[in-house]
């Protein structure tokens, strides 16, 4: 796990990346403007919000759980930011403190919801599928109630930067995404906490017997994930210049899919940030190039579905075959 660097290059270790590369080359040849710096950064920007969440979803899935609430958390956090901001502005507070407090409130509240869900999952032993599905409903309901169904306005103009600004040629959300990739990679590979997530997901009994506090580890993971989804929500609302209760639908499925394309298993114990990154890029490239190729919406469904299975198939099956042959 920690020592890939010391070993030789193995084609089976890089299969998913190779598949992705082949796909990118194919699209470069067929889709106009695909292989431009602008478009590549564009893809990166498009995947950033889901990517941020996917980093933490990787942890959730490694720990053997699932989190369906992230999409609603995105909407919830956006609404909270906008609501708090508007309220504080209304109370005469300055632009900057109002929005900063809004962001903090949104991320903190999201994190708290994560902890609450984790408590129900670990203490009351309700399956995470049910708890986070309920969380999904609750948070969506809360967002709609707070916003009364309407997007909340009132951001200062510069706030957009968080969602759609650029630093040089690089989109700001992409920078955050890359930051989170590094952080979560570090956590999972280099810290005892990260290592325990694998153990907890692989065999909770063995982990508990080894003195790991399974409940605390799972709670941490859910809290971090919800907080990250909250942050993504803040950024989405900055991008759209309003806190809308309707955004974030399908985020849960999309992020879980990216994580699993990246080689994680819903059974827990397996998964890497590198894989998740590839999974995110894979889906991002697919979406982007379908549009660039002008593929009909309906065909997009079909092509996307087929390509995802195909890629995962290549990755699992071919890897095994190659391994047997000693590559």
């Amino acid at each position: 796990m920690n020592t890939a660097k010391t070993r030789k290059f193995k084609i089976t270790d890089w299969l998913l990346e190779i598949i992705l590369l082949v796909m990118i080359i194919l699209f470069s040849l067929t889709a106009n403007n695909f292989l431009t710096v602008g478009n590549l950064f564009n893809i990166l920007r498009n995947i950033s919000f889901k990517g941020i969440i996917a980093c933490f979803m990787t942890m959730v899935i490694i720990s053997g759980e699932i989190d369906l609430s992230v999409g609603s958390t995105v909407a919830f956090a956006g609404v909270i930011t906008a609501y708090v901001n508007k309220m504080l502005l209304g109370a005469g507070m300055g632009e900057i403190p109002a929005i900063v407090i809004g962001i903090i409130a949104a991320v903190a509240l999201s994190g708290c919801v994560g902890v609450l869900m984790a408590l129900v999952i670990t203490r009351l032993r309700v399956p995470s599928f049910i708890v986070t599905m309920a969380g999904m409903q609750l948070l969506r309901g809360a967002a709609l109630l707070i916003a009364n169904g309407f997007p909340i306005q009132g951001y200062p103009d510069w706030f957009k930067f968080l969602g759609s600004g650029y630093v040089g040629p690089i989109p700001f959300p992409a920078i955050i995404f890359i930051g989170f990739l590094v952080i979560t990679w570090y956590i999972l590979k280099q810290t005892p906490f990260g290592r325990s997530i694998y153990a907890v997901g692989s065999n909770p009994e063995a982990a508990a017997l080894s003195g790991l506090n399974v409940n605390r580890i799972k709670s941490m993971v859910f809290m971090l994930t919800s907080a990250a989804a909250g942050l993504a929500g803040v950024m989405v609302s900055a991008q759209l210049n309003s806190g809308s209760p309707n955004v974030g639908t399908s985020y849960e499925m999309d992020t879980i899919a990216s994580v699993i394309i990246g080689g994680a298993s819903l059974a827990g114990g397996a998964g890497t940030i590198r894989g998740t990154l590839v999974g995110c890029v894979f889906t991002g490239v697919l979406m982007n190039s379908m549009t660039l190729l002008g593929v009909n919406d309906y065909w997009q469904y079909v092509v996307r579905g087929a390509l995802i299975v195909f890629a995962v198939f290549l990755n699992t099956m071919v890897r095994e075959r190659l391994k047997e042959k000693g590559y």
């Binding site: 498009n46 919000f49 009364n148 169904g149 309407f150 306005q153 210049n241 309003s242 955004v247 919406d297």
Partner: protein, 335 residues
């Protein structure tokens, strides 16, 4: 001045139609007499967006005024959910059902079921192709597209010549509701037949965050897009923000359908991207639906207009007063 005539004109029209029919009070379809039984109406809306919310406010205000109970629910664009919910309402004793239908054709069956069970069915906001409907009050999707299209034509006359090719991209909600989405687009494009329109992309952006990504992709594909047409408010929000974030090198403009506070801001913005959109008047539709249904159920009054078409409210950068007026009305009804 224009705005006042359009929005208040219509509501007065609605009011007059109900009051007139109340006077007539012939009772052929009457199912019950008013006083002793509490009248319950049921209404289904499509989703949790602002349009439905304002329409529900219309329902509720009208119901409160009439002293009746109204049950509301949300079909989330799902025909079966709609069917279940209407069945639930019928079981709850609803004497009238107001449907903002998921689909004009596939919602017909439940409308007929409701009618068979003795409820009066009113099609609200969206036409429902069924004889079971005793009346409807809609903003026709084609009309909405047409209204924006007419303004777009004016805009084109100023900015483009007839022999130049104009690149147009469409942001739709085809996957959610092809019928409505397509009608809006056709309504829009039909007005521009004099021009050499080149449709460079037609992509789904039924939620704002997706519309944003789709727009950036489309802009990458064709940097020389002149016009975006977005078939819904969510599409406009995502699209305009994306164009603005990209710096808008080609001075692309956007036309839309539906309106909200955010779209009003966009029309006022110096970025000069959103040119015009056509708002509906869901509040008027909502109150009209409840009052008409009440009159029909309780007083047996046939509506004067079987197919009431609410006015399309064209809102553009060139008439910001009207935009402001619209927003004021809207905010009043949004609470």
């Amino acid at each position: 001045g224009n705005s006042e005539t359009s929005s208040s004109g219509k509501s007065s029209q609605a009011e007059s139609s109900t009051s007139k029919s109340a006077e007539k009070s012939s009772s052929e379809a009457s199912a019950s007499s008013a006083e002793d039984v509490k009248v319950i109406l049921g209404a289904t809306g499509l989703q949790e967006d602002q349009f439905t919310q304002v329409m529900i406010n219309g329902y509720k205000d009208a119901a409160a005024e009439l002293g009746i109970e109204i049950l509301t629910s949300n079909s989330q664009h799902s025909s079966e959910t709609e069917t279940s919910q209407i069945n639930n309402m019928l079981e709850a004793g609803a004497k009238g059902i107001i449907i903002e239908c998921v689909n004009p054709d596939s919602s017909a069956a439940i409308a007929e079921t409701a009618a068979e069970k003795g409820a009066a069915v009113f099609a609200c906001a969206i036409t429902l192709n069924s004889d079971a409907v005793f009346a409807s009050g809609v903003n026709d999707c084609y009309d909405l597209g047409e209204s924006t299209g007419i303004y777009a034509k004016e805009y084109f006359e100023e900015h483009f010549s007839k022999d130049e090719t104009i690149n147009v991209a469409l942001v739709t909600y085809d996957g959610q509701d092809m019928t409505g989405s397509d009608a809006r687009i056709t309504g829009f494009l039909d007005q521009l037949s004099d021009y050499d329109i080149n449709i460079v992309a037609r992509q789904e952006g039924e939620v704002a965050d997706k519309a944003y990504n789709v727009t950036t992709d489309i802009l990458t594909k064709n940097s020389d897009i002149d016009v975006f047409f977005c078939a819904s408010e969510n599409g406009v929000v995502g699209c305009v923000n994306a164009i603005e974030a990209a710096g808008n090198p080609n001075n692309t403009v956007v036309f839309g359908v539906d309106c909200s506070e955010q779209l009003v801001d966009m029309m006022k913005s110096d970025a000069n991207i959103l040119q015009g959109t056509t708002a509906q008047d869901p509040y008027t539709l909502g109150t009209y639906a409840v009052k008409t249904t009440y009159d029909y159920v309780v007083n047996g009054v046939e509506p004067e207009e079987k197919d009431f078409h609410a006015d399309c409210i064209l809102l553009t950068r060139s008439d910001l007063d009207k935009v402001d007026q619209w927003l004021a009305d809207w905010n009043e009804h949004a609470k």
